[in-house]
């Protein structure tokens, strides 16, 4: 699966570096220096919602080729590019080791689809990436979600945090004090976050932000108060925050109640992907999708059930600055 990398030039590096800088700026909208003259319009965070019923065949199984096309369109729309490889080159640089953080807690029924991961891996390789690591909390989580553990070798590897363990030193931010997994700190140069669109019995929803509970040694300590402010604090841990580049939420099958465990009675075929560089904007949009589905199904809003995902608002506050949850500053693009 490996490809030959073109020789890197200063010009290509600068071009890629500039693009990457733009991407990171979206995560830190408060970081821009003041300039004279009228205040510029604040940067808007784009969230692409890409849906296509054709990703399912007549017998409702997943059509991998159609899913790959949907992914391509979503990436092109996210980065205003005319080809998916061009878009991916705005996310990663050749030679980087790229981690794909999947979410497999729910097992086969509501985990990040391996077909999606395969499509992403293929495009990453076409963009010059030779080392890809698919990772999650535990090897057993990955296996239950149909992933095969590959701990050694080059190319694409796949393993849980139990393979390499956690840093000895604590990372701290706000109320969080955690050891971050070595897969993220020592192996990966960049991470693509691949959560699932689903409800959570304590946090309200679990999307891009909460998925980083899978990168630390003590997520069990952070479920009080509907996980607020812990989700935002964990995401803001420096080793995590600085390596996340893009969030692609798997909404092929979505779940609006009973999560994070797989509850087939509350799944629905959303047939889509949510793509964003801003995790807060993605979570906000995903949360509203789940709330709408709950309302359509005659269920109470999450707030009434005391699992209002206020951690999304916390993630956007001045202390965290992980992104925006202001609808006026979210550019929602549906394709």
């Amino acid at each position: 699966m490996s490809i030959e990398l073109p020789a890197s030039t200063r010009r290509s590096f600068l071009k890629q570096g500039f693009s990457l800088g733009s991407a990171l700026w979206a995560l830190n909208p408060g970081g821009a220096a003041a300039s004279p003259g009228p205040a510029p319009e604040p940067e808007r965070s784009r969230v692409v919602i890409a849906r296509d019923a054709k990703i399912r065949t007549a017998n409702s199984s997943l059509d991998s080729a159609q899913l790959a096309k949907l992914l391509d369109r979503a990436l092109e729309a996210s980065f205003d590019c005319s080809s998916p490889v061009e878009a991916w080159k705005k996310v990663v640089r050749p030679g980087e080791v790229v981690g794909l953080k999947v979410n497999c807690l729910g097992g086969h029924g509501n985990a990040t689809h391996p077909e999606l991961v395969e499509a992403i891996s293929e495009r990453l390789q076409q963009a010059g990436i030779t080392e890809i690591v698919i990772w999650e909390r535990l090897n057993s989580d990955l296996e239950r979600a149909r992933y095969k553990i590959v701990e050694r070798g080059s190319g694409v590897r796949c393993f849980g945090n139990d393979t390499l363990g956690f840093e000895d030193d604590l990372s701290t931010f706000g109320q969080a004090g955690s050891r971050v997994c070595r897969t993220l700190t020592q192996v990966c140069d960049a991470v693509i976050n691949l959560p699932v669109l689903k409800d959570h019995g304590i946090a309200g929803v679990t999307l891009a932000l909460k998925s980083m509970f899978g990168a630390i040694h003590n997520p069990n300590k952070y479920h009080s108060n509907a996980c607020d402010p812990y989700v935002a604090d964990v995401f803001a841990l420096p080793p995590i925050r600085r390596k996340l580049r893009l969030h692609i939420c798997d909404g092929i099958n979505a779940q609006y109640e009973g999560g994070p465990s797989y509850m087939p009675q509350w799944m629905w075929p959303f047939n889509g992907l949510l793509v964003a560089r801003d995790p807060v904007a993605l979570d906000y949009v995903g949360w509203k999708i789940i709330e709408k589905k709950r309302a359509d199904a005659g269920m109470k809003p999450l707030k009434e059930l005391k699992r209002h995902p206020t951690y999304i608002l916390t993630a956007a506050d001045a202390e965290h600055r992980l992104g925006t949850c202001d609808p006026k500053r979210i550019e929602q693009v549906e394709i």
Binding site: D162, G165, D168, G177, H217, N218, K221, G259, S261
Partner: protein, 393 residues
């Protein structure tokens, strides 16, 4: 699991055990001073353990929980009452829902074993000078920002190296090392309660006593069962304010106070440690409120230890407790009428010793963890015959 570690815990003589034993000498959660290690590390190494021989040997169905619809469970061990989805764990990190059945993952899963003087726990009115064979598993049901042992209490069992020590083996180890007491300590025995209950039953039959060092964040039913099996329980009362419990401990004060009353009702010997953290729980009104509550609800004879804090874990920004603060706390508690108020983690301080509340003479002389003299006769002051409460023989 490395064969070497098994060999070490199979040792039968004290010298071999001491050579083998445990993580670097661990202080109790109360923040007791970490002294010179008694022994070389047994489980030193990377955070993640190599694959153990048989993970299943540590797993037992939990005793205290109820099943809920959709394979969820509600834990009934501590007041937190975690509601846990399939494949998830509770706050403690050592109990897991597997298909709607709740399991402890730490039965007989010992992460540290050590021989400590019982004064280190501290117990000052329980077999002075006795050596306590002290064990812990990973995990805790709170997350104190000043935890001295966070590297075992705030991790999951598979993240630290451990060894299989079932109750009969623990009993044998205590006896082989001439320890009259086993202490369940270092992390939080509440979260390995099934193991404590089984061990306490086994060692009692062998003439060995059991003591527990706990934060006391436990429900009444499991606590009553614990009281029936063990000989003494020391409670780390982290503060006398709900605010501190919420912000620093990630727990609640009220259930801990209720647990202390339950201990009293059960007649289980109890001592209380209060770790004095500068600026966070060191106010006069707090000391006074605590002393008054103890006197009115538990009586004046419950030993109360004010211990010095040392910067650790998430509170490295604070200084050690000034001695004057500890002495002020003791003076307030003395003035409120408590009979046995100690100062801890200050080796050589006069308030390490026990004084007869009637004649004011020293009845147990201590320097650090060393007993310099015991002046009791059948549990009474040898000078004035005043009964001194405790377990002395």
């Amino acid at each position: 699991m490395a064969r070497g570690r098994d060999d070490l815990l199979n040792t039968v003589d004290r010298r071999a055990f001491l050579k083998a034993a445990s993580l670097p000498c661990l202080a109790a959660c109360s923040g007791a001073l970490v002294g010179a290690p008694l022994a070389a590390p047994l489980f030193a190494g990377p955070l993640v353990a190599p694959a153990v021989e048989n993970d299943a040997q540590f797993i037992r169905e939990a005793k205290f929980y109820e099943k809920l619809p959709y394979k969820k469970i509600k834990c009934k061990l501590c007041p937190r009452e975690c509601v846990i989805d399939d494949q998830e764990r509770g706050y403690c990190g050592v109990r897991e829902n597997r298909g709607g059945t709740y399991y402890t993952l730490v039965h007989s899963r010992v992460v540290t074993a050590h021989i400590d003087p019982i004064e280190k726990k501290p117990f000052f009115h329980f077999l002075p000078g006795a050596e306590a064979f002290s064990v812990a598993t990973a995990g805790c049901n709170v997350n104190c920002k000043m935890c001295q042992n966070w590297d075992i209490s705030q991790v999951r069992p598979e993240q630290v190296r451990s060894t299989y020590v079932p109750p009969d083996r623990l009993t044998a180890l205590a006896r082989q090392n001439n320890c009259p007491v086993i202490a369940y300590t270092y992390s939080e025995p509440v979260i390995f309660l099934e193991y404590v209950l089984d061990c306490a039953q086994a060692v009692r039959a062998a003439g060995v006593r059991s003591v527990v060092v706990s934060g006391g964040y436990i429900q009444t039913d499991p606590l009553n069962q614990l009281c029936a099996r063990v000989d003494a329980i020391k409670i780390d009362l982290k503060a006398y304010s709900e605010k501190f419990y919420k912000e620093v401990v990630n727990g609640e004060l009220k259930p801990v106070l209720e647990a202390l009353v339950t201990l009293r009702k059960n007649g289980t010997w109890n001592e209380i440690v209060y770790l004095v953290v500068p600026t966070l729980n060191d106010g006069d009104s707090e000391f006074r409120g605590l002393a008054r509550w103890i006197k009115s609800e538990l009586g004046p004879d419950v030993p109360l230890h004010f211990s010095r804090f040392h910067p650790e874990y998430l509170l490295k920004n604070l200084p050690p407790t000034p001695l004057e603060t500890l002495e002020r706390a003791k003076a307030i508690a003395d003035a409120e009428g408590l009979h046995y108020v100690y100062i801890g983690n200050v080796p050589g301080h006069p308030a390490e010793s026990t004084y007869c509340p009637h004649c004011r003479r020293k009845v147990v002389e201590r320097t650090g963890y060393t007993i310099a003299g015991i002046h009791l006769h059948h549990g009474k002051c040898q000078y004035c015959q005043t009964p001194i409460p405790g377990v002395w023989t």
